[in-house]
């Protein structure tokens, strides 16, 4: 995720003068990276787990502690506003949760508003899973009559002018015709009733998660006091999104106030709740996982550098407070990684342990390699093709109708199935190389995939070898001689048999099959002119394809 920051603004929030180089080094060690930078603007790539860093303010907050300008959790006092949001029954299966907050005296300018919108968008895309799990709305506080009502509404009964337009639309029209409606409509359109936010005068705030109203939802540079709401299907995600949003605004000088959300079951929750979560961390686990020799005090120092509060509870035992805007701490290992980052990845000395094991290749790899060596010895050029192919190449052009493992979301028909044989792939290759010198002797060793209902993944993956000779004049006897050479050198002399074969892709009377221990494992023959025509190949071709045992050895 890319975040665009005005360098001056960023440094003002960090409260320290830094050159671009110093900034780049610090960010590199903090998991972020500079994507590009000029004199004014810097674009920073943030890893998706650090949702708290999706804004200039969030990046500045993390940099402050990392560069020792600040330490531990950033404090944001929250005053009680006494204002209420009432949740009506019937939203449980639609969009159950809502969390709200107020930010007063916030700094606004055209650029800043763009940045707030950007954070809102970034948060709802990543953390909110494209608004499905959580979406955020910003409103002009002073124009809203409290309490705000969050209730389910019949789509036809919804009527308001969506943000950016003057014309009123009803619910279905918004979903079907408004740009945002088309994009996010599917999140709610399957329900009979849709979630709606209105104020006590009956004015619409928004149709979450689609669009704000033009009357209450139009924040501009004259706005000083903001009402912020997050709705969604997952409580923790909703709360965290609100926390990140309001603390970012508080970084810009806004004063936070809480709102009471009253649910229909009688529970009443004050949001935002910025109380840190507590987690126990044992220093021996930190040392065990990182390999760093750290004292309790040093570990606390590393944690504070990463924006946590931590105190020593007993020898080797720490109590860590996790800020409410952090969403990525699920387990003590997440704290341990941050200790290592706080310590500094540039200071960690790599080591090589003595884990004694003996290595080997798979038996099938050794078999594949042996066959490749033999084929190179007989004068063939190895080729390497994609496993994905098209039904035309695999079946239509080959006059075959064999089952194909097929993807439901291909990017093109050309790559929509998995190859079930190599011969079509090699013929396609030959068709694309008719300008190259002849004779063309090519081979490939690789896996093919066949649908198989008995397998765990409903497919059977089998290694194959295939080769072609394309020339003005080809000879099946030459191919057979070479097949004999290969098979004898695989130690199969006493176990192979050849038998005549009839198959549409080969000329009648010029095809054979290869049997090992009585089981058919391969075919060879002169490719029929009809198939050559289908591929657009103007030269005769003889071919050979054989399957290899998955475990690399032929059963006796």
């Amino acid at each position: 995720m890319l975040v665009e920051c005005v360098i001056d603004e960023l440094l003002k929030l960090v409260r320290k003068k830094l050159t671009i180089k110093q900034l780049e080094n610090a960010l590199f060690l903090m998991k972020a990276e500079i994507d590009k930078a000029d004199d004014e603007i810097i674009v920073i790539e943030i890893n998706p787990d650090r949702t708290d860093m999706l804004s200039t303010e969030g990046i500045a907050r993390a940099l402050r502690t990392f560069l020792n300008v600040g330490s531990g959790i950033a404090e944001y006092p929250v005053k009680k506003s006494g204002l209420e949001v009432i949740v009506k029954p019937g939203l449980k299966k639609i969009r159950e949760f809502i969390a709200c907050g107020i930010v007063k005296d916030v700094r606004t300018s055209d650029d800043l508003i763009k940045e707030y919108m950007h954070l809102q968008e970034a948060l709802t895309t990543t953390h909110g899973r494209n608004r499905k799990k959580a979406s955020i709305g910003l409103y002009v506080l002073d124009e809203i009559e409290f309490p705000v009502i969050y209730r389910p509404a019949k789509p036809e009964s919804i009527r308001f002018a969506p943000l950016g337009t003057e014309t009123e639309m009803d619910g279905p029209t918004i979903i079907n015709e408004h740009e945002k409606g088309i994009l996010y409509g599917p999140i709610i359109s399957k329900h009979k009733k849709w979630p709606l936010l209105i104020d006590s005068k009956g004015n619409t705030l928004s149709l979450p998660p689609i669009i704000n109203s033009n009357t209450l939802g139009q924040v501009d540079m004259t706005t000083r006091n903001l009402f912020i709401e997050v709705t969604g299907t997952h409580k923790k995600t909703v709360d965290q999104a609100l926390n990140i949003m309001v603390t970012s605004l508080a970084e810009r000088g806004g004063n936070l106030e809480s709102v009471t959300v009253n649910y229909p079951d009688g529970t009443s929750i004050k949001t935002p709740n910025l109380t840190p979560k507590k987690m126990r961390l044992e220093v021996k686990d930190v040392i065990g996982l990182t390999g760093l020799s750290l004292s309790d005090v040093e570990t606390v120092g590393c944690l504070q550098k990463m924006g946590y509060d931590a105190r020593i509870k007993g020898k080797g035992i720490l109590e860590v407070k996790i800020p409410a805007y952090r969403t990525d701490v699920l387990h003590p290992v997440d704290l341990i990684e941050d200790v290592a980052i706080g310590y500094g990845f540039d200071r960690i000395e790599p080591s090589i342990p003595q884990t004694a094991t003996s290595g080997k290749l798979l038996t099938i790899t050794r078999l594949k390699n042996k066959i490749r060596d033999l084929l190179v010895g007989t004068g063939y050029q190895e080729i390497k093709s994609y496993v994905m192919s098209s039904p035309e190449i695999m079946n239509t052009k080959m006059l075959r109708n064999r089952p194909l493992t097929t993807t439901g979301n291909p990017k093109s028909r050309e790559f929509s199935v998995l190859r079930n044989a190599l011969l079509p792939v090699l013929l396609d290759f030959a068709a694309q190389n008719q300008h190259a010198d002849y004779p063309q002797r090519i081979f490939e060793v690789g896996d093919v995939v066949m649908p198989d209902s008995r397998e765990q993944t409903r497919t059977k993956q089998v290694p194959h070898v295939c080769r072609l000779i394309v020339d003005t004049c080809v000879n099946i006897t030459e191919m057979l001689t070479e097949v004999g050479f290969i098979l004898r050198n695989l130690g199969l002399a006493s176990r192979i048999e050849f038998a005549a074969e009839k198959a549409p892709e080969f000329i009648d009377g010029r095809a054979g099959k290869i049997l090992i221990n009585g089981k058919t494992v391969g075919v060879f023959g002169e490719v029929s002119p009809e198939v050559l025509n289908n591929f657009g190949i103007g030269m005769p071709v003889v071919a050979f394809e054989m399957e290899l045992p998955i475990d690399g050895t032929w059963a006796l």
Partner: protein
């Protein structure tokens, strides 16, 4: 000036006969020699200043399979337009698509191009999407180009240039640069060449068994050969350079005591994502990123119910790992869904599932699939090179040590690390290598498997893991810019490409 070799004499005689700039292929044809051999002879004579050898580049175009099929059936946007016209000039989108006999996947393309060409416009009426014809006749320079090419016409008139450009962009036409060699006798050496050609060669060419047996060779002069000639290019058998690179990686890993392993391309989401603690609603699991398998089967089996229950618990509430988990219900339907594996890490977990006791070192280098359109920097298939090490007491420092060692053995001297992020490892790191021309490039992402990944397998020892893009390393080491060259379909290029360690 020494005397001419047989080959030089033949070529010079031909050039003298033409006495103008002539294509090398033409000469080679007449001499019944291979182009490469004639070029090589001309090269050596050009160095001596006897001939002038020039190369000229020009573009060739040929139809792709898709392009060929459109010549036959019409472009999808034409078919759609015709259908709308046939349906009276205004038709429901689905009806027009059906009438045109277009497949669902061609729908988007046909609508897009018909609109872009200004043939059709979209109207909404009562929630249904309608198509309306805006012109009487649909004229397409793309189609004209395709038809010309299908007739074997290689000269595309300039007025169709934009049509050609679009056809190439839509991969209906393949564009290639072809080199043509042309030669002529050097004007200022004509006299000298004439006298050279007039000298008759003497001496014997071949030493025979008879000459050896009889001793007659003592009385013979041997005609000299030019041994300073650049050897002719030949097409003997050899391995694919990318495979040679992969063979080398495997050798490096076996040398460090790692066992090779394998796993299926088609996976259940259980192995591809869930056992790796990727949340079930993670964006990387959506159709934009990951190929689903839908036919002939769309769901697979869970091979181990006990393991399944532990994985489910870890997702829902952390199970007994001390984690909070994702605090959301875990879907069995979703976990048994089939996909093309999007990384090789599922194979690492399948290995640990079968080998849960320390110590273990495993690697795999094999293909993975991501839902990408093929272009110069994206491919739907890529090779990943995964390794894991499990033992008591392993640490982040050891992971850095292993990655540095692997890089060193592949010839990368300078490596540095930054913290990284992957859903299944914590801590996670990214190794950067110093490349001579590309600067610091990201080569080695890795980490220590999260407890949410290892505990359900009954593993308590640390497991270090990495997943390196083998293609990226190969491209950096071979100075390849276009990712399609990893799986080049160009035999002439392959015959000349090589990988040197």
């Amino acid at each position: 000036m020494a005397e001419l070799t047989i080959g030089e004499r033949k070529v010079l005689e031909k050039l003298a006969e033409y006495d103008k700039l002539v294509s090398v292929s033409e000469i080679a044809g007449e001499l019944q020699e291979r182009d490469e051999r004639v070029i090589s002879i001309l090269n050596s004579m050009a160095e001596k200043g006897l001939v002038k050898l020039d190369t000229r580049e020009y573009m060739t175009h040929r139809l792709t399979d898709e392009g060929r099929s459109y010549v036959k059936d019409g472009l999808p946007e034409e078919r759609l337009f015709d259908a709308v016209v046939n349906l009276g000039g205004l038709a429901k989108m689905e009806a027009a698509v059906g009438f045109a006999g277009l497949e669902q996947q061609a729908k988007g393309i046909s609508v897009m191009w018909a609109r872009r060409n200004g043939w059709l416009e979209i109207e909404k009426a009562k929630g249904t999407t309608m198509l309306k014809a805006k012109v009487e006749n649909a004229e397409s320079s793309v189609k004209d180009v395709l038809v010309l090419l299908s007739k074997g016409d290689v000269n595309i008139p300039t007025k169709l240039a934009s049509g050609l450009e679009t056809a190439v962009e839509r991969t209906l036409v393949e564009e290639k640069t072809v080199k043509r060699f042309e030669a002529t006798i050097a004007e200022n050496r004509k006299g000298e060449i004439e006298s050279l050609l007039s000298q008759t060669a003497d001496g014997i060419t071949d030493l025979t068994p008879e000459l050896i047996a009889s001793g007659e060779w003592r009385n013979c002069t041997f005609r000299p050969y030019n041994v300073e000639l650049e050897p002719v290019f030949v097409n003997y058998g050899k391995k694919h350079p990318y495979n040679e690179f992969i063979d080398w990686l495997k050798e490096v890993l076996v040398g460090m005591g790692f066992n090779e392993w394998y796993g299926p391309y088609v996976e259940t989401e259980f192995w591809n994502n869930d056992v790796l603690f990727v949340p079930q609603d993670h964006v990387a699991r959506e159709v934009q990123d990951q190929f689903r398998i839908t036919e002939p089967y769309d769901h697979g089996d869970i091979p181990d119910e006990k393991y399944y229950r532990k994985v489910k618990a870890v997702h829902e509430n952390g199970g007994d790992t001390g984690s909070t988990g994702w605090e959301a219900p875990f879907s069995r339907e979703l976990t048994t869904r089939l996909c093309l594996r999007s990384h090789t890490t599922p194979v690492s977990i399948r290995y640990l599932w079968e080998h849960p006791e320390s110590p273990q070192k495993m690697f795999i280098i094999d293909r993975n699939f991501r839902s990408e359109s093929l272009d110069a920097s994206h491919a739907q298939e890529f090779n990943q090179f995964d390794g894991i090490i499990m033992d008591k007491g392993l640490t982040l420092r050891d992971l850095m040590g292993y990655l540095r060692e692997v890089c060193h053995r592949m010839g990368i001297k300078k490596v540095k690390f930054k913290p990284g992020q992957f859903p299944f490892t914590e801590p996670s790191i990214e190794g950067f290598a110093k490349h001579d021309t590309l600067g610091w490039i990201e080569v080695a992402p890795g980490g220590i498997f999260r407890p949410e990944v290892t505990r359900p397998l009954g593993i308590t020892d640390p497991v270090l893991a990495w997943g390196i893009g083998a293609g990226r390393l190969y491209m950096a080491s071979m100075d390849i810019k276009d990712i399609r060259d990893l799986y080049s379909r160009d035999l002439t290029w392959l015959r000349r490409a090589y990988f040197v360690r």
